[in-house]
């Protein structure tokens, strides 16, 4: 055998801490974490980033990113981020929330932070269940989807329809960018990164509130293999939660 020249073609971003993941096999949080970290580096804001984490599996983002962070109570990350930005206006501030946190207990905080046009960004990871607590029904749980608190499946008449957050956020005056992407395929992950970049840039360019929803898999609580979970995103989630940009003032060329 001739000697092999090994060439490193894919490494972790420096903003990511080198440690074993605690997330379940097939969970998309790791992908979302990586996208965020890549962008913090590409936008050169790692040293000036103040991260606000939420409650749920997403709280542990602070264990993986090499940035200053504060832990917010359940649902309150946009309010905490508002306070952080008020205190340190020259820093880059973003929050990272799951769907139970953001679309249920934290509904008031996310809507008003967006409406005020807070110069912060929110990364919203939607996997249609409360993950950390064991897979209970979330405000985003799909009709018919079985969870530990809707064992017969979510019923439209009884529990209402799953909430489409990005569409609501896009309707608010202070929002500069609102887009929904998915983490189920390489193509969609690339789009997700594009959207997060836009949401982050809206803060850096002082345009307004930036919001990105990421459709994500929770194979453990969906009781599926990672591959089946990926298929579910394409087959069941995307038809109800359409992908795309719902508001983008940068395209309109104006500030909010």
């Amino acid at each position: 055998m001739s000697e092999m020249n090994e060439k490193l073609v894919f490494d972790r971003p420096q903003a990511v801490i080198d440690r074993p993941t605690h997330y379940c096999p097939g969970c998309h949080h790791g992908v979302a974490h990586r996208l965020v970290a890549e962008l913090l580096e590409e936008l050169d804001v790692v040293e000036k980033t103040l991260l606000v984490t939420s409650i749920g599996c997403s709280v542990f983002l602070y264990n993986y990113l090499n940035v200053d962070a504060v832990e917010a109570p359940h649902g309150r990350a946009p309010a905490v981020a508002t306070g952080v930005k008020a205190a340190r206006n020259d820093k880059f501030v973003f929050a990272y929330q799951g769907d139970g946190d953001l679309a249920s207990i934290g509904m008031a905080e996310i809507l008003h932070a967006a409406n005020r046009g807070e110069r912060i960004a929110v990364v919203f990871v939607n996997n249609t269940v409360y993950g950390m607590t064991g897979g209970q029904m979330a405000p985003t749980t799909l009709i018919g989807q079985k969870t530990t608190t809707c064992p017969e499946g979510r019923c439209l008449e009884r529990e209402g329809a799953p909430i489409r957050m990005t569409e609501i956020i896009a309707g608010l005056g202070g929002t500069a960018f609102a887009g929904r992407a998915s983490l189920d395929s390489v193509k969609n992950i690339r789009t997700a990164k594009k959207y997060i970049r836009k949401a982050f840039q809206c803060q850096l360019e002082d345009r307004g509130f930036g919001f990105v929803e990421l459709l994500s898999a929770c194979p453990t609580n969906w009781k599926m293999t990672p591959l089946k979970a990926n298929e579910r995103i394409a087959d069941a989630m995307i038809p109800y939660f359409p992908l795309g940009v719902f508001k983008d003032v940068t395209e309109e060329g104006g500030e909010c």
Partner: protein, 355 residues
């Protein structure tokens, strides 16, 4: 002739707001509720002029969490509210205590329980001095009784909250907040605006990242955090403030705080004029409670009557303080009633005669 200090005629609420500005408070997060509205109203106009930010939050819950965020950045920040609103802030207050985040919280206590009324009351003593939210923690609680004290203690609150990295509560009531009187504003010197430089969030630039949290899942970590907090609360015990008035030869000492302490002082003056040997002990720090000086009075053989604008809360702390040598009688003023000195003189005379 020396120049007289400038006196201004303001409500207690405005005194608090002005004190906060003098103390370099840079962020205020509020929500409308009577009887504290003059605080956010004043600061909405004045805070931006001082280079700070005023936010009218969507809720009391959000206002307290914004405070958490600003405090985590080591910035002098404040929120204010009144009883029902303070209940809603308890979530963030617990997190701030657990995460050791400095912040100043003002409660202009109104009548309760529930929606109660918008008049004065002291029903939030337990809530203020026992933590108020979930978990085992304490706030440092300051109870001003005049407009001047409201101004002075607000300035002090910001120093204390950074000294201990613990939320500080200013506990007033509708009398303090709404009554107009003369105060002399003053400007503290040598304020350290970056007192949180060693721990606060500023961005991990050429240093290790910082994490401010109250979640401790690792084996033994939460117990260690609670031990740290306990040590801090022990340290706080050395910081007590109180007022003694006519106690030296007093047979009966009235224990009262805040506005009721001030009214009780009038009652003591009036009773002294009648030759009655009564005095006043007025705690200014409600937590830590001034137990030692109270015990010293008890050791002199004095009797005690605690009067509060509630059904009996601080009286527990009075009894705990003097339990080895004495006890305290209690006379309530029911929330919903606006007390006058005669309401205090009656129970005091009854107690004096009932020996």
């Amino acid at each position: 002739m020396t120049k007289q200090p400038e006196r201004i005629f303001v409500k207690g609420n405005e005194a608090v707001a002005r004190g906060a500005l003098a103390a370099h408070c840079k962020c205020f997060f509020g929500y409308p509720i009577t009887p504290q509205n003059e605080i956010p109203e004043f600061l909405s106009a004045e805070m931006p002029k001082a280079g700070g930010r005023f936010v009218q939050a969507e809720s009391e819950v959000a206002a307290a969490n914004m405070l958490l965020g600003a405090g985590a950045c080591g910035i002098r920040a404040m929120t204010s509210s009144s009883s029902p609103g303070i209940s809603l802030k308890q979530e963030a207050i617990s997190y701030m205590a657990g995460s050791e985040i400095p912040a100043v919280i003002v409660n202009m206590n109104r009548g309760g329980p529930g929606l109660g009324d918008i008049g004065p009351a002291q029903g939030d003593y337990y809530q203020s001095t026992r933590g108020g939210g979930h978990g085992d923690y304490r706030l440092l609680v300051l109870a001003p009784s005049t407009g001047q004290e409201a101004y002075d203690l607000t300035i002090k609150a910001f120093d204390l909250t950074f000294k201990y990295r613990n939320p500080v509560m200013i506990l007033g009531d509708a009398i303090l907040g709404q009554m107009k009187e003369a105060i002399i504003p003053w400007q503290p010197e040598n304020i350290d605006d970056e007192a949180g430089r060693d721990w606060s969030l500023t961005g991990a630039d050429k240093r290790e990242k910082r994490l401010i949290k109250s979640l401790f899942l690792e084996e033994g970590a939460l117990a260690e955090q609670n031990r740290t907090l306990q040590t801090k609360y022990d340290d706080m015990q050395s910081y007590v403030e109180y007022e003694e008035f006519e106690t030296e030869d007093a047979e009966l000492v009235v224990c009262a705080y805040g506005s009721i302490g001030r009214i009780a002082k009038s009652a003591v003056r009036s009773l002294r004029a009648q030759g009655k040997k009564v005095g006043l002990f007025r705690p200014i720090t409600l937590y830590p409670f001034p137990s030692e000086p109270l015990l010293a009075l008890a050791r002199q053989g004095k009797r005690f009557l605690t009067i509060e604008h509630n059904l009996g809360q601080m009286v527990d702390d009075v009894r705990l303080a003097i339990r080895t040598v004495a006890d305290s009688e209690f006379a309530p003023i029911f929330p919903g009633n606006l007390p006058v000195p005669e309401d205090i003189e009656g129970p005091v005379l009854k107690c004096l005669e009932g020996k």
